[in-house]
Symmetry: C2
Subunit: 194 residues, 2 copies
């Protein structure tokens, strides 16, 4: 059974992007990136993931930024490593409007998200990461298909923007771990409460 | 100079009450209540507070619940103590619609919130606690008048309800402290970033 793990940065008021998708308010923090790669508390070793599930907006943003970062000689070493990792991952892109996904290692799905994810979970492979992709997070949350939520709370109030969990049904979670970083980011890890 | 300290429980999606003001999703946690009374990290002793600033909705809810709790023989001891404390505090109630505040130790203000709070802060006395009261939190946040934010994040997604920081202007905060509780509540303490 493959697990679906959501990773997102949110503002203190629960938004994952500004009104026009802005993410300039996120405090870039290599320590948080590192923590996301470490073995989780209570687990013997890092599970790791080679697959990412994305909506159209996040896919487009990633396609336009990570290859640039990978080629940028001024980008710090750890960002280069992260870019190589993202580029190497299999990207499963769910979009009803897009006709193709030209970026390498990407695969386009027009089909029903929930059915497809149920099928993916029954298959073999690593954890599947959901990053950004608010509408996908909302649909999968309501279908009870996200096994773990990793939420980095940035010490910023935005006031206006896109709520990460808009229109989800009420849901109880179990807190697994809290980590605090010098940048002021707080990483919270939750699983579905049974 | 008196400080304004906001205390609120929010859901993981940034709501402090359900669509009709519901707060039944809050996980009652005497450990969190206790933490809110302890000396803060980096401070020699608890500052304490004898004054609370409230909007009409929170005042009405408090007036209808705390005196009942204080008289309830089945309420746990720590809840009795909390009820006595709330009843004993001075309640400054800001409302444009209300004509009177019959509850003991309460004082009604029809005047301009921001001007009045600026005046209060220049006066002598303890910290002033703002609890609940979303529209007051929003106005005072936008005026830069809240010195400290104490936010208890409950491990629940609500999906629908009242955002605590609706329509605030973008604001950077500094994380002062994180505390994690067995109930799954996480208490975050922030101050205004200078």
């Amino acid at each position: 059974m493959r697990r679906i793990v959501m990773i997102n940065w949110i503002s203190l008021d629960g938004l994952f992007a500004g009104p026009n998708g802005e993410i300039d308010w996120i405090i870039r923090d290599p320590e948080v990136d590192k923590a996301l790669h470490e073995p989780r508390a209570g687990e013997a070793s890092s599970v790791g993931s080679d697959t990412m599930l994305l909506g159209n907006i996040t896919y487009t943003m990633f396609e336009n930024s990570w290859p640039q970062i990978a080629k940028d000689p001024n980008a710090p070493e750890e960002l280069h490593k992260l870019a190589d990792e993202v580029i190497g991952m299999t990207k499963l892109v769910f979009s009803r409007t897009r006709n193709e996904v030209p970026w390498e290692n990407s695969k386009l799905f027009h089909s029903n998200l929930v059915e497809e994810v149920e099928k993916l979970k029954r298959g073999k492979g690593t954890d599947i990461i959901v990053f950004g992709s608010g509408t996908i997070v909302q649909q999968l949350t309501n279908a009870g298909l996200i096994d773990e939520y990793l939420i980095a709370i940035t010490p910023v109030m935005l006031g206006k923007g896109k709520p990460l969990f808009a229109d989800v049904k009420r849901l109880n979670l179990r807190l697994l771990e809290t980590r605090t970083f010098r940048s002021g980011n707080v990483l919270l890890r939750y699983e579905l409460a049974s």
